[in-house]
């Protein structure tokens, strides 16, 4: 009886300590993150110029479907997502399994080199890519010197080449970041599994698809969700690399939301509604990916 009581207080005490540690962080998150989210949700049901807002129900959400610029930005975002995320993740996975090779020398050097792009600021790398692909930039100069082009090609002046440049830039910037996740995931796979496969006569290709990929599934799922999330919220590249151009061919949803709030006549209700659409898209895609990726046998 006495023991039971003691145990009860012990768990209660543990709970109290737990709560004491949790409360400050939780409170800060609520105040800094959740309160603004709720306020933004309320804002998304209002309409008006600047500070003069009035209730409008679902008007802003209906409005999005008639907005040709928003539709264009939605298309651009999904184009980046569908093309860039698979390329980047496959590349990261391949690089990670290459770097995981026990016989590789200077492993740290390669790892650092591939991760290094992540240490550059988003704005500065976007500006560097912009000057690389300028009409009189480095890439054109090289192509002309090699005799491939006669005059400089305006990469950022044509819709499809501009989109491809953004994808190249994104792959350069984020592959190393995802590779690090895969590397740490690979550390958790017993090396003996690979040795056993080798003894059984599995080719490196088979080892990769039959062992590495299935065992890394949770990490792949994580990086897919993070990349989806990041791509849908893409902002810096659109603003700094192409400025949304030519003719809105590369503008992203976040860039358009920014314009709507700070460049154009401020329409915060509409901006908030568009932000919520991004949230819904991210949530739905993450849910689908989790359902697909979490098929336990």
């Amino acid at each position: 009886m006495k023991e039971k009581k003691k145990k009860f207080t012990l768990s209660q005490k543990h709970n109290a300590t737990g709560w004491a540690f949790l409360t400050p962080a939780a409170l800060l998150i609520v105040i800094m993150s959740f309160v603004p989210m709720v306020k933004a949700l309320i804002l998304s049901f209002k309409t008006g110029v600047g500070a003069n807002m009035k209730w409008a129900g679902l008007y802003n959400y209906a409005r999005m479907f008639q907005d040709s610029v928003f539709r264009q930005s939605l298309f651009n975002n999904f184009f980046y997502l569908i093309i860039q995320v698979p390329i980047m993740l496959v590349l990261a996975l391949v690089l990670a399994s290459m770097l995981n090779n026990k016989n590789l020398r200077c492993e740290g050097l390669f790892r650092t080199m591939i991760f290094l792009p992540c240490a550059t600021s988003l704005v500065s790398y976007a500006i560097i890519f912009r000057s690389l692909f300028a009409v009189d930039g480095f890439v054109n100069t090289v192509l002309i010197k090699m005799g491939i082009l006669n005059t400089g090609y305006n990469f950022l002046g044509h819709p499809w080449s501009a989109r491809i440049i953004i994808i190249i830039a994104l792959v350069w910037r984020w592959t190393g970041y995802n590779m690090v996740f895969y590397l740490s995931g690979l550390q958790n796979i017993e090396y003996s599994v690979y040795e056993a496969a080798k003894i059984d006569g599995a080719s490196p290709f088979q080892t990769f698809w039959k062992i590495t990929v299935p065992l890394l599934k949770p990490t792949i799922l994580l990086t897919t969700i993070m990349s989806t999330n990041g791509t849908l919220q893409l902002f810096d590249e659109s603003v700094n690399l192409t400025n949304g151009g030519p003719a809105n061919a590369t503008i992203t949803m976040s860039h358009y939301i920014y314009n709507m709030s700070f460049k154009y006549v401020p329409n915060f209700g509409y901006s908030a509604a568009m932000s919520y659409l991004i949230l819904i898209l991210v949530a739905v895609l993450a849910f689908v990916q989790m359902k697909v990726g979490d098929k336990r046998d």
Binding site: K6, T9, K13, A16, T17, A20, F21, T23, P24, L27, T47, G48, V49, G50, A51, N52, Q66, D67, S68, V69, R130, S131, A134, V135, D136, N154, L156, G157, N243, G244, G245, P246, A247, N248, N259, S261, F262, K263, Y264, V265, P266, N267, F268, Y270
Partner: protein, 454 residues
């Protein structure tokens, strides 16, 4: 057990105090990034209220503006001019980039915290209408404060007039100049006089000759921006909007003509489009082009290539044909001083602005060396403005530009100016790529109408 419980209670208490401590220190800390500025300006007006009765006329005004070499310098000079008659007067100028001013204004006005604003700040002319109409509570009406607005170039003053009320004191001049490399023109057999008072079709023909003989285009501009379009349009008194503020892009003969001229220039190679601002300035400084057309503030960038001194000359821009009211003069850019509703001493702020930027040729003489050309018309007749510029072939450029400014037709920027600019930039990009002008203008009109239908 008891002791453990006690220690747990104590640690909870400690957490609580920490949290409260956090909460307390959070409040001022949260203000801090918005600036030491916020703290300063709050101190300043409070300071005046007490100081005013004590020292007669002794007052401080807080000002936000962004360029140390240009408008901050102008404000400091204005302070000196005003201090001659008002020795107790001081200014507290805080360097704030325009983007930040816009964001802070938006934040202050939407949250109702207008006391975070300074007394006076500098605003881009293109954003003036938008901000005054979006946040009417944030601005002070200057109409009846004794500032003589008729002394300013009419087109310039019009930017800061909303519903017939003056909300701003015009500052720098954005009168359009056409700058040419005289040495390159010479190679093609032209002088600057051949490019003075001409039309765009003459410009195109001569441009083709220059391109053929020297391999250099006459003009460069930024793709995806509609600066050149806006300058051409305003030179004929045209606008993207009608008098009621409704978008008027379709059935707009002037705009259609402008789009035509622009795409012809690009197709002929006389106008070359680059992707960003640095490349644009690069084309000027690296001798890629034989000239440019822009607001007169571009002269600062031109002059950064010191080895080209004496090789440049300034004249007016070409004018449109086939449309009414076409001139050789236009405007691009520029800014005006706005007084906020947070200003506790409106009389002082108005008197200060009225007797310096709106009444002192001495001030404009002092700041002319930085390229701050006045929109205050009497300043143009002073001696400093007649001084020749060595860089621009010994021409009295300041005087010339002030004259240009006086002849510029006014245009109606409307509230949705930035939307219209972007929509037209999209249209012209597509037109240059081969699309039909009428249908693209229809799309632009629809885009702007859509943005306006809140």
């Amino acid at each position: 057990m008891k002791r453990k419980l006690l220690s747990a209670v104590l640690s909870v208490a400690m957490m609580a105090t920490l949290l409260v401590g956090c909460g307390n220190s959070k409040a001022p800390a949260a203000d801090a990034p918005a600036g030491d500025t916020a703290a300063k300006q709050e101190a300043a007006p409070a300071g005046d209220a007490e100081a005013a009765p004590a020292a007669e006329g002794g007052n401080t005004l807080t000002v936000w503006c962004w360029d140390p070499a240009f408008n901050i310098n102008a404000m400091k000079e204005a302070e000196k001019v005003y201090q001659k008659d008002h020795p107790d007067f001081t200014l507290n100028v805080i360097e704030t980039p325009w983007q930040d001013i816009q964001t802070k204004l938006t934040t202050a006005a939407t949250s109702g915290q207008l006391d975070t604003l300074p007394d006076i700040f500098l605003m881009q002319d293109n954003a003036f209408q938008k901000n005054v109409i979006s946040y009417p509570d944030a601005f002070a009406d200057l109409t009846a404060t004794g500032i003589d607005f008729t002394q300013f170039a009419e087109a310039k003053a019009a930017y800061s007039v909303v519903d017939g009320k003056n909300y701003g004191v015009p500052f720098d001049n954005g009168a359009v100049v056409a700058a040419y490399r005289t040495d390159i023109l010479e190679q093609a057999g032209f002088t600057v006089d051949d490019f003075t008072d001409i039309t765009w079709s003459e410009y195109l023909e001569k441009g083709k000759v220059v391109l053929e003989k020297t391999g250099k285009p006459l003009l460069s501009c930024q793709a995806g921006e509609s600066d050149v379009i806006c300058m051409m349009l305003q030179s004929a008194g045209g606008s993207f909007f009608d008098a009621e503020g409704n978008p008027a892009m379709t059935d707009n003969d002037k705009l259609k003509e402008v789009m035509n001229v622009y795409s012809e220039l690009v197709k002929a190679g006389v106008l070359v489009e680059v992707n960003d601002w640095d490349q644009y300035v690069g084309t000027l400084n690296n001798e890629t082009v034989a000239g440019t057309i822009n607001g007169c503030w571009i002269m600062a960038s031109i002059q950064s290539a010191e080895d080209q001194s004496g090789k440049w000359a300034i004249t007016n821009m070409p004018k449109l044909e086939n449309v009414d009211g076409a001139t050789n003069y236009s405007n691009n850019g520029g800014s005006s001083w706005a007084v906020t509703s947070n200003c506790k001493n409106l009389e002082l702020a108005a008197d200060f602005l009225g007797s310096t930027f709106g009444g002192s040729t001495e001030l404009y003489d002092n700041i002319i060396s930085t390229g701050a050309l006045a929109t205050y018309l009497p300043a143009g007749s002073s001696d400093a403005y007649a001084a020749p510029s060595e860089f621009f072939s010994g021409d009295a450029v300041s005087k010339k530009i002030t004259e240009f400014a006086g002849k510029t037709p006014s245009n109606n920027t409307g509230v949705y100016y930035y939307e219209a600019r972007d929509a037209v930039a999209v249209a012209i990009t597509n037109v240059v790529a081969g699309a039909d002008i009428d249908s693209e203008l229809q799309v632009a009109q629809d885009t702007v109408s859509f943005a306006m239908g809140q």
